[in-house]
């Protein structure tokens, strides 16, 4: 089972990288840019084929190690190994 985890800076928390990139984009002439947030994309391979079990495991992984709940939010997608279309798994 393939899991894609998207980690983003928590809303309302300062995002120095996002802010710097927004400024750079503006200076390049991209005027229509609002907020920019920069996060992290993690791909995990799990040796389970049970989506419910995978969700439970990934949430525990996110809470313990993959994210810092003080400053980050996450969502994840589970893509079953058998080429099924990925389903969105918001927290």
């Amino acid at each position: 089972m393939l899991v894609k985890v998207f980690v983003s800076p928590r809303k309302g928390i300062l995002d120095p990288q996002g802010r710097a990139v927004a400024q750079s984009l503006k200076s390049l002439g991209f005027d229509g840019v609002g907020r920019v947030n920069i996060g992290r994309y993690i791909v995990l391979e799990l040796d389970t084929s049970d989506a419910e079990q995978a969700r439970t495991i990934v949430r525990r992984m996110c809470d313990q190690l993959l994210t810092n709940p003080n400053i980050e939010d996450y969502t994840f997608e589970i893509a079953a190994a058998r080429d099924e279309s990925p389903e969105d798994q918001s927290r």
């Binding site: 928390i13 300062l14 120095p16 990288q17 190690l65 810092n68 003080n70 400053i71």
Partner: protein, 245 residues
């Protein structure tokens, strides 16, 4: 007193901390290995600066799960004194021994500078050798030292006096230019609710000899020694700490 300095893979300032404590201060200081769980009979644990476990994922996120950290958490829960410097501060936040987190500097650049910090609460085991409001000159060297915490938590920390150090100019005045990394409320160092765990981004162990640019860092280590040795001889911490400037 007896100090233990934890050595993680990627620690850099462990030797300087041992030098500052052992050679400069004449204390009994030993290295503690990250894979061990035994802290021995140390009276203060120091988590040094560096890039533990390569700082992969987030600074301190992996070091937090090192075998020795279980013992450090137990030690802290039992009231033992824990000092986290730079990467050590990041590890303490990740381990939930301190509130908040440290993010990329506002400038996104690594900063290596001498800075000034004001002692905001001199009635703690980590600051009692300094005066309230005293300005210390210490070096910083980090890429991720921007302190953040939820607003309500910051308010509570402020009320309880958990913010021990703030970035200021050399006269002790708070200003944006003195807050090089862009920390929330110019916070440079915080303690936990019970004032036995302290984390700071500046490096006291690099400021212990005038030949190396100053010795204000000794105030932090002397505070700890005073509070531990004071306890042993029965003197109260309040009696040792100097009060308002």
């Amino acid at each position: 007193m007896r100090w233990g300095v934890v050595r993680f893979p990627g620690s850099l300032d462990d030797s300087d901390a041992l030098w500052a404590l052992g050679h400069v201060m004449g204390q009994e200081a030993r290295a503690l290995w990250h894979k061990d769980e035994d802290l021995g009979d140390v009276q203060c644990v120091v988590l040094p600066g560096g890039f533990s476990y390569g700082d992969y994922l987030r600074c301190g996120a992996i070091a937090r799960f090192a075998p020795i950290m279980k013992s450090v958490v137990r030690f802290a829960d039992a009231g033992g004194l824990v000092l986290g410097i730079c990467n050590g501060f990041q590890i303490l936040c990740e381990a939930h021994l301190l509130p908040g987190a440290l993010m990329r500097n506002r400038s996104l650049s690594f900063i290596c500078e001498q800075v000034h910090v004001r002692v905001e609460n001199a009635a703690t085991p980590f600051t009692c050798a300094a005066r309230q409001g005293e300005v210390l000159r210490l070096p910083i060297k980090h890429g991720e030292g921007l302190y953040v915490a939820p607003e309500d938590e910051l308010r509570t920390m402020e009320e309880r006096g958990q913010i021990l150090l703030r970035y200021t100019d050399d006269s002790g005045r708070e200003c944006d230019e003195a807050n090089l990394n862009g920390s929330t409320c110019a916070i440079a160092g915080v303690a936990n609710e019970t004032f036995n765990v302290f984390g700071l981004m500046p490096h006291p162990e690099h400021a212990v000899e005038t030949a190396l640019g100053g010795e204000d860092g000794l105030k932090i280590f002397r505070s700890i020694a005073m509070s531990v040795e004071g306890k042993r001889t029965g003197a109260s911490t309040a009696g040792i700490s100097s009060t308002t400037a």
